[in-house]
Symmetry: C2
Subunit: 472 residues, 2 copies
C-alpha cells in the first residue's frame, strides 16, 4: 500500500484507519501481531514520525497492546460485547451502510428484520387519515401564515397535553413542529454545535445521529453505554477531562439499538454534569409511547432548569408515519432552532399538523397502545428465543423493557457486515452493528426488528441465517 | 476599540469587518478618509502586519482606494445599484435578519410587501386539497415502504411530464421528492460541498441560499449579477482564477430578488465553465410556472450532459404550498442526495405526494396560470409606478418579465435596514437589501412583494414609507 503525498494529517489518518478497520472488522483478531514501527513506516511509505503516531493512536484507542520485548499485538476488546469506545472523537462514515439498509426494505421478498419501522398495520394509520381528511376540509389559506414555524398552535398544545399524560412537562412556547423526528435531531444539532465541534454519543448509537454529526462536519465522541442502564455518565465525565464537548446526543428511554433505560439517578448526574461543563443535551425520546406512562423516568427535559436540553419527539412510531410530524422543544436555543427550521424545510405541511392535533385531542389511543406494547413484548420474546437457539454459541441478546429492537452480540470473530449479503440472499435483512459506531466497534453485533408478524416460516429463515453465521 | 487577544486570523477579520461594514452601511460614505496603516494598528491595538492585511483586503474588495501622497479613502461603488461584490469569499450572517422578516408576516395589520409568498387566494389550494382528500382515502400502509425516498413514482413521472410541457427534459430516475424547495437546496448543497468549501452565488442572492451556505459552514463568493441578464459569467470566470469553487448556486430564470432571466448563450457558457473547472451547479427553478412555456430558455439541467447540475423545483409557488412538496434532480450526485434526504427528514409525507401526483395528472392548470401571470404583471406595474412616484429621487426599480418581486435601489445614503422598524410602524413590511448579501452590499436596496391585492389604501401606505425614506 503506497499513499501518494496527501497532507500529513490525512496520511496519518489513512494508515490509522487501515489498521483500525482491520482490527474492528475482525480481519486481524485479538492476539495477532502487528509490524513494528519501522516496518510500518516502510510498508506504507510514511515517515517514522507518522508511523509512531499511528501506533500511539491505536494504543490510545485500545486497539493494540505492547508486549515488552515481543512487539505490538491486537488487544482483546476490554469488555466483550460492549467494548469501551476508542476515547478519541472521530469523523464518522455511515453513508454507504445506511443506503444499503434502506434498499433492502423495498423488497417484499426480504423479511424486514433490518427495518427501522414498526409494521404499519399495528399503528392507527386509518384513524389518523380520517383526521387528515377533516383537516383538509377545514384548512383555510390564511393558516399558511399563522401556522408558519414554530407551527400550528393546537398541535403544540396537544403535544404538551400528551406529555402530561406521560407524567412530564413541556413548554408550549419552546415547541417547534418538524418534518419528523429526524429533522428535529438535525435542527437541534445545528442549533448547538458548529462544524468541527465534538458531540458525545452513545456507543452503540442510532446511526441517524451519527450521520447528522457526519453531515454537519462535526466529530462524534463515543461514550460507553450499558445495554440496560444506557449512557455511562462516569465514562462521559472522564471524557470531559480530555475533550471540550458542545453537546451530548442520546436516547435515555428505549435507546436505539440497545433498548436501555437510564435510571433517574444517572439522568440527574448527567444534567448536573452538563451544567458544570456547559454543554447542551439533545434528547431523542422517539419511543416514549412504546412504554406505558411511568415505564421510564421522565425525560431529561422535565428537569431542565436552565434550558439546555433540546427534546425531540415524533408521532410516527406509535400513531402514524404518514403525516411526517415530529417536534423539538429547544429550550434556550428555541430562536436558533426556529431559524434553522425555516431555512431547512421552511414549514411543515399544515393540514398534516391540523390532523395530528385533532387526532391527539379526540382519539383515545391508550387501549390500542397497551395492546401494541403487549404484542411487541411477546414478539421480542419469540425473536430472542430464536436467536438463542440458532445463533452461534456465545451470542448474547438483550432483553429491553419495550420497543421493537433486539441487539445481538455475536462472538468477536463474526463479521456481520461481511455476512449481510448472504443473509439477504437467504431472504432476511438485519442492521449490521458497524452502522452504530464511527470507530468500527460492534462489527460482531446486529440489530433485529421484532415489530412485524413473526410467523414460523419467517423465524425459520432467521434461524437459517443464525446457522450461516455459526458456519462463519 | 480594543480587541482582547483572539487568534490572529479572527483578529484580522474583526478589524476588516469593522471597516467593511462601516463602508457597506454607508456610515463611511465614498470619499471619506481612512486612518493610515500605523494609526489603524494603534487604534485597534493590533500589529502593523495585521493592519496592513486589513488595508490590503479592503483594497482587494474594492472598498477603499489609495490616493498617492494623500492616503486611504472609501472608494466609489464600481457600478452604482449593482456594485461588484467584494471578490472574497465570506462567511455569511443572515440569521437575525431572516427571523425579523418572518415575524412581520404573522401580523395581519402589516401589508406584506416583505412576504416571500404569493397570496394563497391566487393559487389552487382548494383544488389541491380535493386531491389530498382522495389520496388519503386511497393510501395503503404499504406505501410507507415503496414510497420511501426517492419518493412516489407517479409523482416523479408527473414532474417529468410537467417539465416537458415547459419544453425541457428531466430524468425520472434522478428525481428525489423533498419537503419543499428549501430542503431541495439544502440537500443539493450538502451533496456537492463540504464545510469550508467556497460556493459562488449571485449578488444579490436569495437569502435562503446564503443561509444554507452559512449553516453548513461554507463560504459564499458573490458574483456580479445583472438585473436583466442574471449571473455575470465573465465575473465568475475571473473569480475562478482566484478561488477553487465547489459549486455555483443560482436562479437562472426569475432570479430572486432581481427577476433576471439568463440568456441562452450565458447559460451555455456557464455550463462550459463548470465542465472546465469541474464545479457543480445548483439550479433553483422555483418560479418556472410563473413564466409561460417558452418565457425563458430551458433550465441549465436540460443541457446537462455530464450530470453536474442539481435542479430544484417546487409545487408551492404556483399551485399550493399546503402539501410542502419540492423536488431535486441531482444528476451524478443522486445517490448522495438520497442519503442526505433520508438523514435530513427521512421521508416526505406520502399522502401529500400522492395528492400532488394526481393533481398534476388530472387538473388543467394552464388557464388559471395564464390569468395569474397577467394579474402579477399588472400588479408589478402598479407597484413600480408607486415606487417611481413616491420613493426618493434617484431610486430605481427593475421590471422583471414575471414573478411577484420588485427590487428597488435607493440612493446610496439610504439604509433600508435601519429604516425597517419605521416602515413596520407605518404598517408596511419589505425585505431590507442587507439580507441578500453576506458582504453588506445592497444596504440601500429593498425587495417588494407584488403578489397580493394592491388596493389604494395599501399602496398609499407604501407611498408614505417612500416619503419617510426620502426624509432619511
Amino acid at each position: 500500500m503506497t499513499l501518494d503525498g496527501p497532507a500529513p494529517a490525512r496520511l496519518y489518518q489513512q494508515v490509522f484507519r487501515h489498521w483500525r478497520d482491520a482490527i474492528a472488522s475482525g480481519r486481524l483478531p485479538a492476539g495477532a501481531r502487528l509490524p513494528a514501527v519501522r516496518e510500518l513506516a516502510a510498508r506504507h511509505n510514511v515517515s517514522l514520525t507518522t508511523a509512531r503516531r499511528v501506533v500511539e493512536e491505536l494504543h490510545a484507542g485500545g486497539w493494540i497492546e505492547t508486549r515488552p520485548r515481543l512487539g505490538l499485538f491486537v488487544a482483546q476488546p476490554r469488555q466483550p460485547g460492549y467494548p469501551s469506545p476508542a476515547g478519541q472523537p472521530a469523523p464518522v462514515s455511515i453513508a454507504t451502510l445506511a443506503l444499503r439498509l434502506f434498499e433492502a426494505l423495498r423488497d417484499p421478498a426480504i423479511a424486514p428484520f433490518g427495518s427501522p419501522f414498526i409494521d404499519p398495520a399495528w399503528l392507527d394509520i386509518a384513524g389518523v387519515n380520517d383526521h387528515l381528511r377533516r383537516a383538509v376540509r377545514k384548512f383555510s389559506p390564511a393558516r399558511g401564515l399563522t401556522d408558519l414555524p414554530p407551527g400550528h398552535d393546537a398541535l403544540r398544545q396537544q403535544i404538551v397535553r400528551r406529555a402530561l399524560h406521560h407524567g412530564f412537562r413541556l413548554q408550549q412556547d419552546e415547541l417547534l413542529i418538524t418534518c419528523g423526528a429526524m429533522e428535529a435531531l438535525n435542527l437541534a444539532l445545528k442549533s448547538v454545535a458548529r462544524p468541527g465541534a465534538v458531540v458525545a454519543v452513545e456507543s452503540p448509537a442510532f446511526y441517524g445521529m451519527l450521520y447528522a454529526i457526519e453531515a454537519n462536519g462535526m466529530q462524534a465522541l463515543e461514550i460507553r453505554t450499558d445495554p440496560r442502564t444506557g449512557l455511562d455518565v462516569d465514562d462521559l465525565a472522564q471524557a470531559l477531562g480530555r475533550h471540550r464537548i458542545a453537546a451530548c446526543m442520546l436516547m435515555p428511554s428505549l435507546q436505539n439499538p440497545l433498548g436501555a433505560i437510564m435510571p433517574a439517578a444517572a439522568r440527574a448526574r448527567l444534567l448536573a454534569l452538563a451544567g458544570e461543563h456547559d454543554f447542551a443535551i439533545i434528547e431523542d425520546d422517539a419511543y416514549r409511547e412504546l412504554l406505558p406512562p411511568g415505564g421510564s423516568p421522565p425525560p431529561l427535559k422535565h428537569h431542565d432548569s436552565d434550558g439546555r436540553v433540546l427534546y425531540c419527539g415524533t408521532f410516527a412510531k406509535a400513531f402514524s408515519p404518514a403525516p411526517r410530524i415530529g417536534w423539538l422543544a429547544a429550550g434556550r436555543h428555541t430562536e436558533t432552532a426556529l431559524l434553522h427550521k425555516l431555512m431547512n424545510t421552511l414549514s411543515t405541511s399544515i393540514p398534516n399538523q391540523m390532523a395530528v392535533a385533532s387526532y391527539l385531542r379526540d382519539s383515545r389511543p391508550d387501549r390500542r397502545l397497551a395492546r401494541l406494547r403487549d404484542t411487541l413484548a411477546s414478539n421480542r420474546a419469540r425473536l430472542a428465543d430464536t436467536v438463542r437457539r440458532h445463533f452461534p454459541a456465545g451470542s448474547e441478546v438483550n432483553t429491553p423493557a419495550g420497543g421493537f429492537f433486539l441487539w445481538v452480540t455475536l462472538p468477536p470473530e463474526c463479521d456481520t457486515l461481511a455476512h449481510y449479503p448472504k443473509a439477504l440472499a437467504a431472504g432476511v435483512s438485519f442492521v449490521p452493528g458497524a452502522l452504530f459506531s464511527p470507530s468500527g466497534r460492534f462489527g460482531h453485533c446486529l440489530r433485529l426488528n421484532a415489530g412485524f408478524a413473526l410467523d414460523e416460516p419467517v423465524l425459520a429463515r432467521l434461524a437459517e441465517v443464525g446457522r450461516q453465521l455459526q458456519a462463519g
